[in-house]
């Protein structure tokens, strides 16, 4: 980690056809920071994640991971350089057991690559690590269950487990709590906090409770541009953010949920 910044975006742009989705985004995430990316639907949050993780190549601009240019690299190349991501739609290996899912996640980072001359059962470090991960995501009892037979919340936990398995220093979580109940979400935030301890975290999230509970800093993305990047309190107070996005979201949420949000977040 030679660089002060874990992830840096410099005038990043991405167009699909004639439509420019990401329009000159600049962002510098310091090592160990927890950043939530928020913004209205269609702001380009998912696209931004896809660019950083290598799913799409940017149209122009630079992406630096720990000071090293990674724009234009393939997903697995970026992953090998220390960035891992989860997906909004659960993305696991359905017909493998929970344990096997996690072990697949650790294999590359431990240097086993494409080995076909070693037995998995003999790879002590990989098996130990997979069992540790199993404990971290609290699925010990589902060790040998096929991933597709897990409940939704369990699958989301496994998704996080696979993401952190390779020991990446930068972790990106795309709507980790989407579709979960309130109680599940609360427990899940604790889990995320635990497993990303000491790592740089980037997360896309719609649930403002999650955002304010988890993030050190918030990046507000509106129409492909970061209009604010600051601490939660500062972002909340930011007039431009209020106007562009947050005000309407909070107002909607208050109308929809009555006093629940108030009770949860005395800042309002």
């Amino acid at each position: 980690m030679s660089s002060k910044y874990a992830v840096e975006l410099k005038d990043l742009r991405k167009s699909f056809g004639k439509t420019e989705i990401i329009r000159g985004t600049n962002l510098a995430v310091a090592q160990g920071e927890r950043v939530a990316v928020i913004g209205p639907n269609g702001a380009g949050k998912s696209t931004l994640f896809n660019l950083i993780s290598g799913r799409f190549a940017p149209s122009s601009g630079e992406i630096l991971l720990n000071g090293e240019r990674v724009d234009g690299l393939l997903p697995y190349e970026i992953n090998r350089r220390g960035l891992a991501r989860s997906f909004q739609i659960t993305n696991i290996f359905g017909r493998l057991s929970v344990f096997e899912n996690l072990r697949c996640g650790v294999l590359w980072s431990l240097g086993y690559r494409y080995a076909f001359w070693k037995f998995l059962a003999d790879l002590k470090d990989a098996n130990t690590r997979a069992d540790e991960l199993l404990q971290m995501i609290k699925l010990e009892r589902k060790r040998d269950t096929l991933a597709m037979n897990l409940t939704y919340a369990e699958q989301r936990a496994l998704e996080i487990g696979i993401t952190i398995a390779g020991g990446a220093s930068v972790v990106m979580l795309d709507e980790p709590t989407a579709g979960m109940s309130k109680t599940e979400t609360a427990r899940f935030i604790e889990l995320i906090r635990d497993v990303t301890e000491g790592k740089t975290l980037l997360t896309v999230e719609h649930d403002m409770g999650v955002v304010f509970g988890l993030a050190d800093k918030i990046a507000v993305l509106v129409y492909g541009e970061v209009i604010a990047f600051d601490t939660p309190d500062a972002v909340r107070a930011n007039a431009r953010v209020q106007e562009a996005y947050l005000g309407s979201v909070l107002a909607d949420a208050q109308v929809a949920e009555g006093t629940r949000l108030h009770a949860g977040h005395p800042g309002h």
Binding site: S53, L74, P75, Y76, N79, R80, A84, R85, F87, N91, I92, F93, G94, R95, L96, S97, F99, E100, R103, C104, G105, L107, W108, S109, Y112, R113, Y114, A115, F116, W117, K118, F119, L120, A121, D122, L123, K124, N127, R141, K142, R143, D144, T145, L146, M148, N149, I162, A165, G166
Partner: protein, 448 residues
């Protein structure tokens, strides 16, 4: 570290609907299964003593070859989700190379022992997989299937266009008993070839099973289940497919080499789409979702080719019928049907369903008799071209000119179907209840 779930097991072609999820079976690591492997070796050793006629020994050799070919095919289909329509390219080209190797041994130009010819086949298979697989494994899913089909056609056409190497329509032939005899072994008698084949069959089966327990083997399963995710945990899906494809090509080549030794001839048919189709069909019938499924398929392949074809000339029709029924109702093949019962046995509930099997089989047999009578009657019209009208099913004479034959056949079929449905529905309820009980037990154990 003895816990390994049956993941190799899981997975079939992307075409297979995801019904009957394979339960997480009790782990069977390689070393704990010494009994299974010893049994397999014993069967290979003793089989020719039980089936000792020249025809049976030749069939046993063919079964060995088919086992290695189908297992290597299933490395792609069952474990990698790669539906190949051109697997015969790798078995077949290896056969050609091995025939030329035998010719070289005969002329003294290529001094290697005949017993190593299958290994040469393996290297040839791997070589062609390196060459052609680089193109095919760039893609997955349907494009992969299409490209393998294209390459299969390409190679089949090339074989006929280069008669200098491939011998044109007639193919090339060689003599296997050309090397220096070693301890009196010339590989002339079928039994000697059988034991060489059996040796390679055993070693290749063990090696392919071992592959399923390696990092590459497991990542191949991961690529099958979710290629996109694999790219985000450090692996290139294309490399995983390519390396696995080469290994599958190697074992396919060994099968091709054994074929060369057994038949001493290679014709254009060995690389053809027909043979590729057979590997697919019988691997699927045997069961692509379990490692041992293709072994069952391979045995069926040889049996249906030699025995069923003796029984009736219309045997491909029956085969097609069985294949369609299997794809529709038991996409996991025979292996998965077996394992479902093993699972019930593990939960001590097998007895409750087994009592239904005689009734199911009896009614199915009535249905089959009716269907068979119709198939044979139609076949006789086509075959006898009006002159020969007699045929028979289960020893019952039929006549294409007789109304009674046709009406009788249809009646038997309908009655059989009605009875079968009656039994099947009741059986289905019992089966469903038993499954629910097991689910409840599993849930209780996991503390859901």
């Amino acid at each position: 570290m003895s816990l390994e779930s049956a993941t190799t097991a899981a997975g079939a072609a992307q075409a297979a609907p995801e019904v009957n999820p394979v339960p997480a079976m009790r782990p069977w690591p390689l070393r704990g299964r010494a009994g299974t492997w010893a049994g397999f070796a014993l069967i290979l050793l003793l089989a020719p003593l039980v089936f000792s006629s020249d025809l049976s020994v030749s069939m046993l050799s063919q079964i060995g070859i088919a086992i290695v070919a189908c297992l290597s095919f299933n490395m792609l289909l069952g474990q990698g989700g790669m539906l190949s329509f051109g697997h015969a390219v790798y078995t077949g080209l290896a056969t050609f190379v091995c025939i030329h190797a035998l010719l070289g041994i005969a002329s003294g130009a290529f001094p290697v022992p005949v017993s190593l010819v299958p290994l040469i086949g393996g290297l040839a298979g791997a070589f062609f997989a390196i060459l052609l697989g680089y193109v095919t494994t760039k893609k997955a899913g349907t494009p992969f299937a299409m490209i393998t089909l294209g390459i299969g056609e390409l190679v089949a056409a090339m074989v006929l266009m280069v008669p200098e190497f491939f011998g044109g329509e007639g193919g090339v032939s060689a003599n296997r008993s050309v090397g220096k005899p070693f301890l009196g072994i010339t590989f002339g008698p079928p039994l000697q070839v059988y034991y060489l084949t059996a040796f390679y069959t055993f070693v290749c089966t063990a090696a392919m099973f071992a592959f399923t327990r390696t990092p590459l083997g497991r990542m191949l399963n991961a690529v099958r289940d979710n290629p996109e995710r694999v790219e985000f945990i450090g692996y290139s899906t294309q490399r995983v497919r390519y390396f696995s494809f080469i290994i599958a090509g190697f074992f396919a080549g060994v099968a091709g080499g054994m074929y060369a030794l057994n038949f001493e001839i290679a014709t254009s048919e060995v690389v053809g789409a027909g043979r590729s189709g057979l590997y697919l069909l019988f691997t699927f019938l045997g069961g692509a979702t379990f490692f041992f499924g293709p072994i069952i398929g391979a045995i069926l392949m040889v049996l249906s080719f030699t025995l069923l074809s003796e029984l009736t000339k219309g045997w491909p029709l029956y085969l097609g019928l069985v294949f369609i029924l299997m794809v529709m109702f038991a996409p996991g093949g025979i292996a998965s049907l077996l394992m479902m019962n093993v699972r019930l046995a593990a939960y001590r509930k097998l007895g409750r369903v087994v009592v239904w099997y005689p009734a199911l089989m009896a009614t199915a047999l009535v249905m089959l008799a009716g269907a068979a009578a119709l198939i044979e009657l139609f076949y006789q019209i086509q075959l006898g071209s009006g002159n020969e009208t007699h045929t028979s099913v289960f020893g019952i004479g039929l006549d294409t000119q007789s109304q009674a034959s046709w009406i009788g056949a249809v009646a038997v079929l309908l009655v059989g179907y009605a009875l079968f449905e009656l039994v099947r529905r009741r059986f289905g309820r019992v089966w469903g209840r038993v499954q629910e009980e097991i689910e409840a037990q599993v849930a209780a154990r996991e503390g859901r």
